[in-house]
Symmetry: C2
Subunit: 243 residues, 2 copies
Amino acid sequence: MTPRKAAPPTRERGRDAYHHGNLPEALVLAARRLVRERGAKGFSLADVCRAAGVSVAAPYRHFASREELLAALAARGFEELGAALSAALEEGDGIADALARMAGAYLAFARRRPAEYALMFANSAGVLLPEGTRTRAGPTAYDRRAARGGEAHRHARHAQQLGSALFRLVVARLAEQASTPAERALFAGDGGRRTVSAFWALCHGVAALGVARHLDREWLDPALVVDRLVAPWLAGLVGRDAR
Amino acid sequence: MTPRKAAPPTRERGRDAYHHGNLPEALVLAARRLVRERGAKGFSLADVCRAAGVSVAAPYRHFASREELLAALAARGFEELGAALSAALEEGDGIADALARMAGAYLAFARRRPAEYALMFANSAGVLLPEGTRTRAGPTAYDRRAARGGEAHRHARHAQQLGSALFRLVVARLAEQASTPAERALFAGDGGRRTVSAFWALCHGVAALGVARHLDREWLDPALVVDRLVAPWLAGLVGRDAR
DNA sequence: ACGTCATGTTAATGACGCTAACATTGGGGG
DNA sequence: CCCCCAATGTTAGCGTCATTAACATGACGT
């Protein structure tokens, strides 16, 4: 959007064929490997550089900071989680079944990639600092470079949450599958987003407490989560609206 | 517990009257202030020392690492949260009301102390590293000192979760307030712990997503959380067991 | 009075995040 | 066809941090 001057014609944007051969991708992959091996805090940007075989200053051509590299990794995590949820949604037969499958997929993701999952919600800039704070004011060196060279990069920014596209898809698909007026009412208009948000909170609660080892082992079983949380919640909602 | 040799008779353990006058407490308070002002990652151990007016090496007489100081802070957070939950529990009239009040207290805590809440669940050693990993093996200097001088310190360790004491209290109190057989069944035996765990997951899901700004503003209202999550969930559970 | 041990300080170490200044490379316009 | 330039990567260096060892101090019991 907003093409100030005609875009350079022949070269494709960040596909491959760079010096290194797509360093941003290599960095994200290296970071992901380290996150899986050593946990979300168990590595440094320097480690990532060593793993990718570049100097410690190289990442700053593509990412404004270590935080932004991790944000890119988190964004990738959200994409994968979204894909898993979409797949589960499509397999579902009826609202209750679809929600149960999605909960299973959600919890499976968190259990198989605990460090990445924790990272996705450890959005330090947005979460851990109060409202408008920035650790260091003023544009960073990366910003100055980026300002000069058009708009260039941006590897994070996208999908810093479960994209609203996915949200809309889930609402629409569940609305289709509704078989009673009460079920339909749950996904009509803005209420649909509300219902899905509640479902997300439900899944995230179990996933986050589970990853943090605050819950008994039994909660690793999606069947228990569905039986003691998802199903009762849905039944309660439907039952009330039916009355 | 396990008093190897008779404890030193006259001096009280870590009350006050040290060189500094209870440095551990001063450090925790300074850290808490910085967490509230600058967020969970917006400060360094050196900053805490400057705020407390001691040298950067002083904390290591009382805490093994920066992580352990933050753990102590988190433990304090869990204590406060537990107290708020207990108070709400006692005010409740009936299970549904008690749970609604506890949910309100829980969400209020997370909303009023977002950085501390995030910290409480960012237990890096336990959460963010895979199973048995340690960043650096071998006993630290603090460990060696502590091994020599009996068992000495320990400011964290306690209450790294919502204490099981609180858990038992909640289960017992709710079991008393149950007015139907179905409600009573929810809190009988191990099932009680399960039910309260589910409730915790529910609250944590909304609180964590809310703190991370992943939910719409409307979810800041406890009434909505109760109406769309807590109440339906409870009604669903009770309704099913009643059948 | 004294010595001892808890408590705190000074100084030093290695790693890290980040920046500026310099080097290289590959593709497109003259 | 070649050269220029911008994108990409490197080297060197700065300030900070967490952590440690070695040293200082002072309160308390003997």
